[in-house]
């Protein structure tokens, strides 16, 4: 809820900004094919995964990712026939992972504890169909594409170390998965516009925890859904 309110606040602020800009769009405005966008990426995870497997792991040790917000940067290239290609990128956010399942592992608190963090590089390439004519102020779009996600700066917290039994090397395999999006663009001027979109991406990763040479693994489906509010500049 907090994230949604922030996204809507950002959208309101962007609308106010664009309304303050001169020269509203009209039929005589030129149409540009390149478009840079900057905005707010609100990511909602719908994590599901197998319980952690491996030596000395009790049944019921699982994880979930905390929702987060980060900077959205996108490039959109218009194509013929109302098509466009979007390359969407977020500033790699620090994603926190909480323990889920058992209240304690042995006597170590687990459920709800932030056990690890990682940064994501998660570019998505989308082919989108844009409805209505290029002259329209409001143009909805729908798209599908491919996401690549890579994780880095993977760190386990002290609470995570306590649960796994010591300092732990965290490995997450990179993910390639489909992505889908729906959204709309509202044009203020021939150059400036406001965009909102909601996208769903499949990000699955093989997770391996190495604690003192003892390996524990699981498969996590992060299931991120993202609300993007951005301002764009066409040229």
């Amino acid at each position: 809820m907090k994230t949604t309110i922030r996204a809507l606040t950002a959208a309101t602020a962007l609308v106010a900004l664009f309304q303050a800009l001169p020269a509203a769009a009209d039929d005589s405005d030129p149409v540009y094919n390149n478009d840079f966008r900057v905005g707010l990426y609100s990511v909602f995870y719908h994590t599901s995964g197998d319980d952690l497997q491996g030596p000395y792991v009790p049944a019921g040790v699982n994880f979930k990712a905390d929702n987060l917000e980060t900077l959205y940067v996108g490039y959109v290239r218009s194509l013929p026939a109302n098509l466009q290609v979007e390359v969407a990128l977020g500033y790699p956010p620090l994603s926190k992972v909480e323990g889920k399942g058992l209240a304690t592992v042995g006597s170590v608190p687990y459920n709800g504890q932030v056990v690890s963090s990682a940064r994501w590089l998660s570019p998505t390439v989308l082919l989108e169909y844009v409805f209505l004519s290029p002259d329209s102020k409001l143009r909805p779009f729908i798209g599908a594409g491919v996401n690549y996600t890579s994780f880095y700066d993977r760190n386990q917290t002290a609470a995570g170390d306590a649960a796994t039994g010591g300092p732990t090397k965290v490995s997450l395999s990179s993910s390639v998965g489909p992505a889908g999006t729906v959204g709309a663009t509202y044009k203020f001027t021939s150059h400036w516009h406001l965009n909102m979109s909601y996208s769903i991406t499949r990000v699955n990763s093989h997770v391996e925890l190495d604690t003192a040479g003892v390996l524990r693994t699981t498969e996590i489906k992060f299931g991120p859904q993202a609300l993007v509010v951005s301002g764009g500049y066409s040229f």
Binding site: N33, Y75, S107, L121, S150, G165, V214
Partner: protein, 543 residues
């Protein structure tokens, strides 16, 4: 619609940004433990070690109370007063022939308030014979790890740091055999894990607990021998030993071996013999030229190398890979040594299946060790017995003054190896030492081992420094170890009654009695461990 040629430039720029970000994605993870490059004995191989589990005192009590056996153990140990962190130590040591090998074990660290953290004494513990090659005494999550649970509840949960090896040949060790009852190797390995554990402790998640420098050594059965050998080795090295409590161990190995080869076969002998032969053959290369020298053709192909095994020993019995009881041939040998008519006749009589004497319940156990198919050949038995008869041990078959080892080194390979690893080496404890056992032990005979050491040390040790406790003896006092003796005898009576209930199998009195005898050696363990803890507590108070 304009198409700016500059757009390609922007795409290129974006590609560069993307590539840079992808390179950034190569950033590494938080590190895990460091793996040592050194393989010197005593080196901690993985630092810090893995903490397998962390249990508070209440969680440990709860876990134990959840099973009948755990609840019974708690009645002996008392309720935990400390939490326990269980660490899995990997360290470098040497095998029986000085081979470099990695081994593993447990570091159990008490946690909590006063008496559980800060500077705490260490109990260095040696476990009993275990046929399971995958044994990991640190793995408290393994319900078959009963000895790990025992030492956790008895010592760690009462404020002692516990260090215990799995032994070379077990768990991660790639040695390929276990140096069973090899005093030099096993005492060396005990000192190696102690060094490694002391290195590890400050870097663990339980660093609020530290080593006080007080060291107590104990162990059960095989581990009783290991504990005594370690006490001897550490005292010889002038290392600090605060006190020791070897329990139910085969200390007087030559005497014990002679008793068995003469016909007093113990329960468990068909498990111990392959381990012993394999160990000494690797260390000394003098037990056999070919396995058929020792083992009958039924078992020779596998017996020499199959223990410890990842296959349960009961399965080995069921599949006919080892005899369950028959150490020796029930068709006992006729000894015919040219020119030695009297000796031949005496040995022929000595090697016969023991006559069951109702006045001595153990004679029925001895007789169980004879059958067919059998493990050890008659020829090998004769070669051993001839050596024993011509160069007799001072304790078996007839005790002589001072119960010394054989007057000169035996010539028969296995007997020489037992002689080499016997604890009667002119050495006696110089720190408080308790030898605990049960006088009716059918697995490691009490009188031949503990009794022999008591007699051997009687003139060598400072009065009062060594105490002997027979938990099977009727207590004569409510003080000292009297309550422990009383509790053991009560537990035996309760067990006898339990085996006759439907929950206990509904056995007849005779079968229930046999079951009690069969489990006697195991059942002594918690009571002797309680005596050891009580002994250590007393020594601590006085130090």
């Amino acid at each position: 619609m304009s198409k700016s040629p500059r757009s390609l430039g922007y795409i290129r720029t974006l590609s560069v940004v993307l590539s840079a970000a992808l390179l950034a994605a190569c950033g590494d993870s938080s590190p895990t433990s460091t793996v040592s490059n050194s393989t010197s004995p005593g080196t901690l191989a993985v630092d810090p070690p893995l903490r397998i589990a962390s249990l508070s005192a209440s969680a440990l009590a709860s876990e134990l109370s959840a099973s009948a056996s755990g609840a019974q153990l708690l009645e002996v140990t008392g309720a935990p007063t400390c939490g326990v962190d269980f660490y899995y130590i990997k360290f470098w040591t040497q095998g029986g022939a000085k081979e470099t090998t990695e081994s593993s074990g447990a570091l159990m660290v008490p946690t909590g308030g006063a008496g559980c953290s800060g500077a705490r004494p260490i109990v260095l513990y040696a476990h009993g014979t275990n046929a399971n090659q995958a044994l990991n005494i640190a793995n408290i999550t393994d319900t078959t790890n009963t000895e790990g649970v025992l030492i956790a509840a008895m010592f760690a949960a009462q404020g002692y740091i516990v260090v215990a090896p799995n032994y070379a040949g077990y768990d991660i060790s790639t040695l390929g055999y276990h140096p069973f009852l090899n005093a030099s190797q096993q005492s060396g390995e005990m000192m190696d894990i102690l060094t490694a554990a002391r290195t590890a402790l400050p870097g663990t998640l339980s660093s609020a607990t530290s080593d006080s420098g007080k060291l107590f050594i104990t162990g059960y059965s095989e581990g009783g021998h290991v504990a005594m050998a370690t006490e001897r080795a550490m005292l010889a090295a002038k290392a600090t030993v605060t006190a020791a409590a070897p329990m139910s161990g085969p200390y007087a190995l030559e005497a014990f071996g002679d008793a068995i080869f003469y016909g007093d076969v113990d329960i468990g002998s068909t498990e111990f013999a392959p381990l012993l032969v394999n160990s000494y053959q690797h260390a000394y290369s003098n037990v056999y030229s070919a396995p058929t020298d020792v083992f009958s053709t039924t078992y020779a192909a596998t017996a020499a190398t199959q223990l410890p095994s990842t296959t349960p020993i009961d399965t080995l019995f069921e599949e006919g890979l080892l005899p369950e009881l028959a150490l020796f041939d029930s068709a006992t040998p006729v000894v015919d040594i040219p020119g030695e008519t009297a000796l031949s006749a005496a040995l022929t009589a000595q090697l016969a299946v023991p006559t069951i004497n109702p006045a001595n319940p153990q004679t029925a156990i001895f007789a169980l060790g004879f059958g067919s198919p059998y493990l050890v050949t008659n020829d090998y038995r004769i070669s051993y017995a001839v050596d024993a008869a011509t160069n007799p041990d001072g304790a078996v078959p007839t005790p002589t003054a001072g119960v010394p080892l054989a007057a000169k080194a035996p010539t028969q390979g296995l007997r020489l190896d037992l002689y080499t690893n016997d604890m009667r080496t002119g050495w006696a404890p110089t720190v408080p030492t308790l030898l605990c056992g049960g006088d009716a032990d059918p697995t490691v005979f009490f009188s031949v081992n503990t009794g022999t050491m008591k007699a051997y040390w009687s003139t060598l040790v400072t009065a009062g420094l060594v105490q002997i406790l027979d938990v099977g003896e009727t207590p004569t006092s409510t003080a000292g170890f009297g309550p422990i003796q009383g509790a053991f005898l009560t537990s035996q009576a309760e067990l006898l009654a339990y085996y006759q209930t439907s929950a206990g199998g509904g056995l007849s009195l005779a079968a229930a009695t046999a079951a009690v005898v069969e489990n006697y050696h195991t059942n002594v363990a918690p009571f002797c461990a309680l005596a050891a803890r009580s002994f250590f507590d007393t020594v601590l108070l006085g130090s």
